[in-house]
Every structure is written in structure tokens, then in C-alpha cells.
Symmetry: C2
Subunit: 360 residues, 2 copies
């Protein structure tokens, strides 16, 4: 077999040095800023919400709460002033929880460089509105940002990325913006692909957490690997149907932001969404399971939003329906699983191919 | 969320009782025949190659070599005469290794009922010709069988299916044939979907073993979960490109036969293909790794065939290329991985979307 791979030209990244701001110092923001700084090509800044945390990080070069063992590069400018973080930045990466996105973008709004690209690195919907994160960003920043808002998503366990283990991700946005972010963020161990399907990437990143809850429930029930793989596969198919209804490309769900992230989330013992499903299958109530995990479990909100969107769009989402019934309607996991298995067999790709009609 | 699921009508299977022959008494054939017999709707026969094995199974109701703990239903007719097994069968399921397919179908050829559907349950190519299993079956049985040859594939670890744990699979073939097999084989714990994309299902089932070798190599190198998920995702994308070139639908690779089977195979400690990759990453040669595993590792042959097909069709398959180099050209796993990570970043779905044109 002849090699015909495209080789990276080594000095490409260095040739286009720029300032990149990472907004948010949770585990993903910290991993991102560390990875970008290690690349050595760019001038990198980090914003932490709390002044005491920013000061401690600036002094000790360690995040006191997340990925605490990482030693952060001395050249990272760490601040709790959003204005200072985003000043001069060609790319602003927003690594904040979904519930904080609107407020944080609002604070940054007056200080962005003209021409900069703003990238959401959060996975989920705004709870009340059901909006994607890039829609929230666009809503806050207005028409002047058209074509310069993107989303980054993929199978990226933060600690692995921070340690420099190989990982791939995908950035979605309009042509030049997505390519600019892709080229700027790709490094020796972190490969970023580009796509124009922003809705697909964001729906996939948010909705895969529902499937992770279902996969966790399978673990809790001792269902086995075949059943879990079937849940993952059929789950991706149904979240793709919802995405297609919203304008996404079906294939995006087979990519890094869909399949890739779903595989990592469904397999990882550390996934909070998977843990939640497992705890409930073992008899915990939703409140008990959330109390055990003691962190935001994004899939719970995503299940609410997806159930609403599926009902509005008349999209068939049997796994989401069962997760919703188990989380919010007191249905037993065993019963939900039995109901999934008793449906009539069907065409595998209904609603995904042959005319791309939405499933009913 | 309102329930709108399709419910199975209980007596559907029973209403259409028929004879089904399972040809091949390896682990998958044994699991299949056991599952069909347990369903209770059909008259079931099993063919074992060796007369001594058939006699032992008929007497003891246990397979002496595979899934030995299973007690097989008394009503299963067990024989080493192909003619006896397939006589009167409306469905013939071929669960033999790929290298035996041509010969076994040749032996059955004169004895098939007119109108019966013949289903390959093997995953791989014929080594010399590179033909899919349904193509081999069609080649042997001739034009009279047109429209009545199908393929069954999916994430089906045999022992889990045999134990009655939930599993799903997909049968590919022309409309009525595929639907007939789907409805006949679906039982309380084994759900079968149908599709018309036979090439996609067979390419996916065969080629996913290459990705499993690569995933095993990741395990052996301690690459982490992000990297393994990326290999799985990008691997599915590249085998889909080859499939599309051969006429498959891209979405099939996101289904049970592609993604689903790939997830199970890449994760399972028991997968021989995954084991092979892991052993080689830890320093074994191909011969040493094969000697350790002591069974046929289908992915080795699939890598040879895929490399040939990719070269012929000018399809970009970077992971397959590296697996080929590691298996047959003495390349170090570390070097193969580094070469994968140093490629220029690109459009995520190149060759898969934008007009669904085949990759070139």
C-alpha cells in the first residue's frame, strides 16, 4: 500500500502566531490553555472567574481546584478581568458551564477585537430556551459577529489532553473561521478537524449525555456489551434524527463530536452521566444519584430539552423517552429496557437515509 | 414526553412458523441456533462439519468445543449432513469461517428449497478474490438465487447472545428477503433490524477488525481513551470511504454492523483482533502474536484485502495503511501512531458528505 498521507508542515503554526484567550478555568479550560501554551506558537491568556483563584494560579502555576497536578506554563497570562483576557485575542475559547455562558459572553462583549473568532467549548443547551451555545453567543453579540462564532467538541477527557496524550476534536463554524481555529489549536498531540455543521456538532455534544445515562443504566443492570453497544448505536441514530430535524448533517453524528464523544462517555468510569444512569439502575432516585455525584450532570437537563424538542418536532426518540420516564416519571429501569426490546423491528436507518425524511 | 413506540404483536413470529437451518457449529452458529430454538416459533436444524461432533451434540445436547456450558434444546435437529440440515428450510444461516464459505455453500447448493433465503453470518472477505461473502454465495448458487441472499452482522458477542442478554443485529438484503429474516430471527432478547445495504453491512463487518487491531495497539501503547475513541471514529470514517466507493451507504457504517460492532470489538478484552494489536504494540511480531492467540484473526486478512482495494480505488485510508505497515512491513507501532498524528488537519467528513460522492 502506498503512503499518500498529507504531512503537516512543521512551521505552519509558528508562522501564524496569535493571541488566544481561554475563558473559564474549570478542568476543560485548564487543559485547553495548558495544551495551547505547550504548543509554544501562540500568546495565551486564561480567565478565571474568581480573583482569588486567578491570583493563586498566577502565583503558584497550579489550578487549586481542577487538574491540580498540572504545572502551568509561566507565559500564560492569568486574570479574573475578562477585558484583560480577551484584549488582542484573535480567538476566544469559551470553556464555561452552559448556565454561565450568556452572562460571561455579555461581560466580554464590549472588549472583543474586531475580527476575532469566538468559540464555545461547552456541551449542552441553555435550559429555558433550549438554545445551543453558539446561538446564545450570537444572541448576545449580535449580527456583527456573523460568520465568526464556532463550537469545539469531541472525545476529550480533560486530564488526558492536559497530559499530552493523543486526542482529536472538531471545530464547527463557517469556512474560514473554523479553519483558522483548527489550524491554530492543532498541536503535536491534539488534532482538530473542521466542519461547517455547527448544529450537528452542538446537538451531538449535548445529546450524547442522554445516551451515556442509558449506557450507565445498562451497566447497572448487567446487560452486557452487546446491549450497551446497541444502546449506543441506536442512541446515536435517534439523536441524529433530532439533529437532522434541526438542520444538522446525519454524518456529523458519526464523527468525533457524536460517535467519538459517545464512545468515551459511555465507557468512562468517570463520566458523571454514565455514573448517574448506573446509580439509578441500582435503585437510587434521581435526587439520591445527583447527591452522590455532587456535580452538574448535563445529561439531566439535556434529557428535558430533547424530550421537548422531540415532541415539538414529532421525532421518534425511544431511548430518550425511556430515560425521561426513568428520570422524571418514576418508571423502573427494568421496565424501560423491556419496552425498548419489545418494539417491532424496523428498517435500521429510518429517518436517516432514503430522502432524509424526519422519522415519525 | 408522549410514548409513540411501535409495539410488537406477540404472536407475529408464531404465526409464521418455518424451518431454519444454521450451518456451522462454531460459537456463533451455536449461539444462533440456541437463540432461535429458545424463541420456540420455528423448527430449527444445525449442521456441524464433523460427524463425531454432530453425534456428540445430538447425544449430550452440549457443543464439545464452543460455548460448552450451553444446554441445547432437544428439538434442534443436529446433523453432519448438509442435505439433511437444509431440507425444507425457508432460511439457511451460514455461520462458517470465511475461508470455508465457498466449499460449504457448494455442498448445500443442490439441496436448497426453492424460494429459501440464504444468509451469510460470517464477517470477512474471501482472501484471494477479495469478494464479500454474499458475492461468494451468489457466485456459487447462480442467478436463480437473485434477491434471496442476505447478510447478518452486528455487535453480537456469541456467549452474551446465547445467554439471552439483550442484543441487536442487522440483516441486509433485498426488501422482502431481509424483512423475512428480520421477522423470523427477532426474539425477546435478540432484535434484528433490516436494511437494503448489503455491501455496507459486509464491508463494515469485515473492515472493523482492522480498526480493532489499531485500537488494541493503542491499548498496548497506553494511549488513553481519547486517542482510542479518535482511532475508532476516524477508522469508521475511512472504512466508510472504502465502502462508499464500492456502492455502500455511508450511514450503514454508523449503524449496528459498523459503529456497534466496532465499539464491542474495540472494547472487548476477548476480541482476537484487539488482542493482536495489543500484543504487537507490546513488542511481539505478527507470527508471535498469532501463535499466542492460536485462532484465526480475521483482521489480518482484512487488512491485506483493504489495502489492495484502497490502492485500486485510490481511497485515503491512513489507519489501515499504518496497520498494514506495522503488520507486514516491520514498522514500529510508535512510528505509525506518530505519522497518524502529524498529518495536516482537514475537513472531518471529507469523502463522506457534500453530495455523497464516493471518495477519490
Amino acid at each position: 500500500m502506498q503512503g499518500s498521507g498529507r504531512r503537516a508542515t512543521r512551521d505552519k503554526g509558528q508562522a501564524e502566531s496569535m493571541r488566544i484567550a481561554v475563558v473559564g478555568a474549570g478542568s476543560w479550560g485548564t487543559a485547553l490553555v495548558h495544551t495551547l501554551a505547550r504548543g509554544g506558537s501562540h500568546d495565551v491568556a486564561l480567565w478565571a472567574r474568581r480573583p482569588t483563584v486567578a491570583a493563586a494560579m498566577a502565583a503558584t502555576r497550579h489550578n487549586p481546584s481542577y487538574l491540580t497536578e498540572l504545572e502551568l506554563d509561566r507565559d500564560i497570562a492569568i486574570t479574573s478581568e475578562v477585558e484583560e483576557a480577551v484584549r488582542g485575542a484573535a480567538i476566544v475559547l469559551l470553556a464555561v458551564p452552559t448556565h454561565a455562558m450568556r452572562e460571561v459572553v455579555g461581560a466580554a462583549a464590549g472588549h472583543l477585537e474586531s475580527g476575532c473568532v469566538v468559540v464555545s467549548a461547552a456541551k449542552g443547551f441553555e435550559e429555558q430556551s433550549g438554545m445551543t451555545m453558539t446561538a446564545v453567543v450570537a444572541d448576545v453579540l449580535g449580527a456583527g459577529m456573523r460568520g465568526r462564532i464556532a463550537a469545539l467538541s469531541g472525545p476529550n477527557i480533560a486530564i488526558e489532553v492536559a497530559r499530552g496524550l493523543p486526542a482529536a476534536s472538531v471545530v464547527a463554524g463557517e469556512g474560514e473561521s473554523a479553519e483558522m481555529v483548527r489550524d491554530a489549536c492543532t498541536g503535536p498531540a491534539f488534532r482538530v478537524y473542521s466542519t461547517s455543521d455547527c448544529i450537528g456538532v452542538e446537538y451531538a455534544g449535548a445529546l450524547k449525555n442522554i445516551i451515556a445515562i442509558a449506557a450507565g443504566a445498562c451497566d447497572g443492570m448487567g446487560v452486557g456489551e452487546n446491549g450497551k453497544a446497541a444502546i449506543l448505536t441506536r442512541g446515536l441514530a435517534e439523536i441524529a434524527r433530532l439533529g437532522i430535524r434541526a438542520g444538522a448533517s446525519a454524518m456529523t453524528f458519526a464523527g468525533l463530536a457524536g460517535l467519538g464523544d459517545c464512545v468515551v462517555t459511555c465507557a468512562s468510569p468517570y463520566s458523571r452521566n454514565r455514573q448517574l444512569g448506573e446509580a439509578i439502575a441500582r435503585g437510587a432516585t434521581l435526587d439520591e444519584a445527583l447527591a452522590q455525584i455532587r456535580m452538574v450532570v448535563e445529561g439531566v437537563n439535556a434529557t428535558r430539552v430533547a424530550a421537548r424538542l422531540a415532541a415539538d418536532g414529532d421525532v421518534d426518540m425511544p431511548i430518550t423517552r425511556e430515560v425521561h420516564a426513568v428520570l422524571f416519571e418514576g418508571k423502573a429501569v427494568r421496565e424501560g429496557l423491556a419496552d425498548l426490546m419489545s418494539r417491532d423491528p424496523a428498517e435500521e436507518l429510518h429517518g436517516l437515509v432514503s430522502g432524509e425524511q424526519p422519522a415519525r
